[in-house]
Amino acid sequence: MKRLVLVCALTLSLGGCAGTQVGDALRVATSTVTNPVKEVNIYQVKTVYAAVLEAAASYRDYCWSKPFAALMADPIAKPICEHRRAVNRAINKADDRAYDAITRAETFIRNNPTISAVSVVREAWAAVQDFQGTATNTAVAIAAK
């Protein structure tokens, strides 16, 4: 049970806590933005991006909350934080890609208000999904082992 709660909570597996309000809300967050591209769509992408950032920041807080030796002696923290530097690097790299893609989309929309922004928003969304996948697959898959 503890493990379930831990994995459910820490993973921000974005949908893994199905059947709860959080699960429902996270499912909304991760569902594909299918509306025609409008100004609001990039805001939606950014909101999901911010949710994934919360998870990444939480991972960083948790895995650097104690000395490494103490974490490795902790049966709960060990599988989550064992490879914390590699996980952190992967998360940061994916974050940079997501942030750059969002910035590009925002700039495009600002400079070209009458031209369809479908491709740039789609690119930003793909980068955010990749960031989400990195944040969850690294930290979370390890935690679920």
Partner: protein, 100 residues
């Protein structure tokens, strides 16, 4: 169900349990130590859930109310900047036994 209230209530209970489990003497018992570890992890998860709920509600609002106002846009940008600064901050020096 008031999800925020539920999280708050659980957080309070978890804090109490953690305080007990962290009490010197009690912490010597392996089970209590494990409970303490689990509670720390769960608390991290709860905190994450609380923070993410803000983003999820903002996202839901966009489907109901359309384009957010400038204050909401600014708040989101500020939150993103804060979180990015946090995850990209230089790491502390590598510790003994820690891999690259």
């Amino acid at each position: 169900m008031d999800f925020k209230a539920l999280l708050d209530a659980f957080g309070n209970v978890a804090s109490v349990v953690k305080t007990i489990a962290d009490t010197p003497g009690i912490n010597m018992i392996p089970y209590a130590s494990t409970v303490s570890s689990a509670v720390s992890a769960i608390q991290a998860g709860i905190k994450l859930g609380e923070n993410v709920t803000t983003q999820i509600n903002a996202l839901r609002d966009t489907f109901a109310n359309g384009v957010p106002d400038q204050a909401q846009l600014d708040a989101l940008d500020a939150r993103i900047a804060t979180l990015r600064a946090k995850i990209h901050a230089p790491l502390p020096p590598k510790e003994e036994g820690e891999e690259d």
